[in-house]
Symmetry: C2
Subunit: 554 residues, 2 copies
């Protein structure tokens, strides 16, 4: 297995052997490389800052639903370490080529495309691609490199080095509909002068396991467990829109700039409506974004004329661009989703950003046309667009708004912290900022006690999972994951050793952040969430500070 | 002595006795009040955040050159504690009224004016003042309240709650030419809905000293020491423009976005040129901004037609809007100074901000017309203006610029850190961010050793001084200051006790910052200053991190 190093300044490409001493993948690879080679004190967009792309431990194997790809570096939004992971085909393809990590360093003056294949790796001029939206760019790249390539690409937002910018990855049909969305990883790639990476795994092969039989057996058991998990059928049939109902019911559906926890129009943006529109217009529920996906939770959404509009209209998008903006029009939400995917913008950050404009008198809740217009400002690259494309914290500052739903400079995701207090602890303390994927806690959402312990457990579990490249919606327990690792690598890990990997990752992330100037004092939710009750639960975030500060006691 | 408390939400005004247990003033008052009553976790513009106005220990006495006024709160730029002090007449007038502090809390929905006089204190509607520039606002207020009032006022920048916004204070002629400029204190006042404070000290009186004779004697000695200090005559005759020559000679005059340390056109913006223009056009050198000023270093600058343009064309302004932008036209610099004073913008932050636009391709060095045009964007309140008015860190982020001259979100002042390494340590470590007034170090500017010790000493000395309300250009040693305190309060302080006050202030400021999430890891200069040599000295900032981290070991 190899690590690919690309120096953009010199146009130099080299291979190194990938970690021989440790089992690493995904977020763990990023944490380890940034710990050894990163520059925590440097500006995220500086020439010496690193962009790291890392498939998970199971990349290129037949482990079910496992090809997620981690993309990371120093976040332009938080100023701390960042790993954002994403579905699509690129992770699996890199694994099939034996590439377990890509380190991109330096800066090219002209936009480049990194072409990766069995025959070699090369940097090529990004002719005609500069300024191009993701969908058009992928069309052009597929025409040039063939329909079967996997593409990792940035849109205009990443090119403009906006702090809210994503890295898109193509799905099995070649659409740039999957996004390593959070923390501004698109801007890190943009600062390198790298428009796209094209991965052609023609001639590559599934990785061989050290103990093929043990691995096959473990993978089979895992696939069965996913198939039988209670939520799987619901996710498959309804997509992640299923959470609209669940969060709305629990009072944790951010509504109107995080002012309410349920939305009277939730039914209009929920799974039933989504399924109805898909049924009448074409499109599909139950699409898989990853090779080998069991759950297949992605909806393919068509516009009223029956033409493809967007893929994977996800819960976080529906909430943050829907209820959080008081918008009840699923078509408008889908159009904004497509536009964000095309420009390379994180929909969570975008929804938080437009939300605070209400306090600035620049947006009225429910005004979908205005929300769409605001996103167009980013496309145009106007000063207003640069403000909005820089995320919620910067937007609030530029317009003098004091009530800001952010942690460490990053917008808070779509499970309201006050009505999901354990999740709130994760938002506050995760070295990654307020990500919904950093450690979900669903138990006793309104209790103020025990949430530090719950979040700690969830964050450790989750970090380990983010190393594997397994999708969170596998809901696999360590007991089912560890036998696959043991089969693949011929080791005898215990569950404890597997969880130790997650602990080590969190320690490395905290250490990076300390060196970057982000200390534990930043592990706080916005102060107003402790004062302002969130209807209908009317909960405030009242988890004791000691509990927040205890999360990393392990 | 009283503390005045103003609740803007309820329109409630009350008096409390001022600190009976401790001798406090200025920055020490702010530190003490924020420690006891502040909300470090709250947003700087939140309703519960405090704006504090505090005259120095010697306010309202005959101590020479001592009426500086401290204005502070939680900084919208740094997110940490902020004290910015300013000359003008308001500090002295508050002292004569026996008011040693004003705490403004809450938020008024309509713009208000706080009228303070011997007859009482009241909140009045700011009729016709909203949106008004500082000079016009002061004209209107003086017409209403009389020519002899002192005025504390915010311009449109503060009203817009921009993070680079000042609080202006009138000079003896009633011009809003003196600014508590750094850290965005104008936005804190703006967030309270307070446009101006008008201080009428008619019927007030000089404060009585506990030991009148001892105080008079000590004040006399202090005045003589100021008069005889070697730099006094130079400052009086040439203004602070004298530092253009000194810094240019030492290679520490920030030039072209902090890329060089000397400016080939320094003579065109230096003291000789300034004096020549003042001589031919009218205006004056040697104006005093404070009652009882001995040094009187302010130039009154007229335009080519002989009409008053701006007062106190200071070194920091001349450098940051001049050499740092490659601008050699003193008239253009003076026009920008006036415009910043009128809008309520810090010229240091403004110069840093326009400087980084060069890296974004939006400004060419030397293009004074473009620089003036950019400042006008702020006046217009356009999105571009909101970016620029939010300071250098936000501007750099919005435009994807990685090389940013800032510490803790605040632009670096006009004595280049790389060629003034002790000063650089102060910029890095001061709880206030990169202020030129937080602790100047001139000794061995290019040595990498001993700078932590020098900065520590300077920061302690300076903190104590900022409690007194004495101007830094008195260059008074503690030995000359302490007898005035002893005479005024009837105590027997030693020099050590006086310096202990400064230590206690710094401890309080650090504690506030810790609670606000700003930990010692943020005590760093930008990483690129450690790599990029600054011509002509070609120095990099190479003070060991241990030295930075040792500054607060006392």
């Amino acid at each position: 297995m190899n690590l690919l190093r690309v120096n953009m300044t010199e146009g130099k490409i080299s291979f190194e052997p990938f970690s021989q001493t440790k089992i690493l993948g995904g977020r763990a690879t990023i944490d380890s490389l940034l710990t050894q080679q990163g520059f925590p004190a440097a500006h995220p967009l500086a020439e010496q800052s690193l962009l790291i792309v890392a498939p998970g431990i199971f990349a290129g194997t037949s482990a079910p639903q496992s090809g997620r790809l981690s993309i990371g570096g120093k976040s332009p939004l938080t100023g701390g370490i960042k790993e954002a992971n994403v579905g699509g085909t690129a992770g699996h393809k890199l694994g099939r080529l034996g590439i377990m990590g890509i380190v991109v360093e330096g800066r090219s003056k002209e936009w480049q495309v990194l072409k990766i294949g069995r025959q070699g790796v090369s940097l090529e001029k990004a002719d005609g691609l500069a300024g191009m939206n993701n969908y058009s760019a992928c069309d052009l790249l597929r025409r040039k490199y063939g329909d079967r390539v996997g593409i990792i690409v940035i849109g205009p937002a990443g090119e403009m080095k906006l702090a809210n910018s994503t890295v898109a990855v193509t799905d099995p049909e070649g659409r740039p509909s999957r996004h390593a969305a959070r923390g501004g990883v698109g801007a890190i790639m943009g600062a390198k002068g790298l428009k796209a990476m094209v991965i052609d795994d023609e001639g590559g092969a599934l990785r061989k396991a050290a103990d093929e039989e043990a691995f096959r057996e473990a993978a089979k058991k895992a696939a069965e467990a996913i198939q039988n998990f209670p939520l799987t059928a619901g996710l498959h049939n309804m997509g992640t829109a299923i959470f609209v109902n669940m969060d709305n019911g629990r009072g944790s559906l951010p509504t109107r700039n995080h002012r309410e926890g349920s939305f009277e129009k939730a039914a209009d943006i929920g799974p039933a409506k989504l399924m109805e529109l898909v049924k009448t217009r074409g499109g599909a529920m139950g699409h898989g974004c990853l090779p080998g996906c069991v759950v297949r939770c992605s909806p393919i959404f068509h516009d009223p004329s029956g033409k493809f509009l967007t893929a994977a209209l996800e819960y976080e998008t529906i909430c943050m661009l829907g209820s959080n903006l008081g918008i009840d029009d699923l078509d408008a939400i889908a159009r904004m989703d497509r536009r964000c995917d095309d420009l390379g913008l994180d929909t969570i950050e975008m929804g938080c950003t437009i939300g605070v404009l209400n306090d600035a008198g620049l947006f009225r809740f429910g005004d979908a046309a205005r929300a769409e217009e605001l996103i167009e400002e980013i496309a145009k690259g106007t000063p207003m667009g640069r403000i909005l494309g820089s995320g919620v914290a910067l937007t609030a500052r530029a317009f003098g708004v004091a009530r800001v739903p952010e942690v460490k400079g990053q917008g808070i995701a779509a499970h309201a912290a006050r009505s999901s207090k354990g999740w709130g602890v994760t938002y506050a303390t995760s070295p990654q900022g307020a990500d919904h994927t950093a450690g979900a806690v669903l138990e006793e959402p309104l209790s103020k006690t025990g949430q530090g312990d719950r979040s700690r457990k969830a964050q450790i579990m989750n970090a380990s999972l983010d190393a594997t490249g397994l999708c969170q919606f596998t809901f696999l327990t360590p007991k089912l994951i560890v036998p696959m690792i043991n089969g693949l690598y011929g080791v005898n890990w215990t569950v404890e050793e597997y969880l130790e990997l997650g602990k080590e990752m969190l320690r490395q992330e905290r250490t990076f952040n300390l060196k970057a100037g982000i200390w534990p004092g930043a592990d706080r939710l916005p102060e107003w969430m402790g004062r302002e009750p969130l209807p209908p639960t009317n909960a405030v975030f009242d988890v004791p500070l000691e509990d927040l500060d205890s999360v990393f006691n392990f």
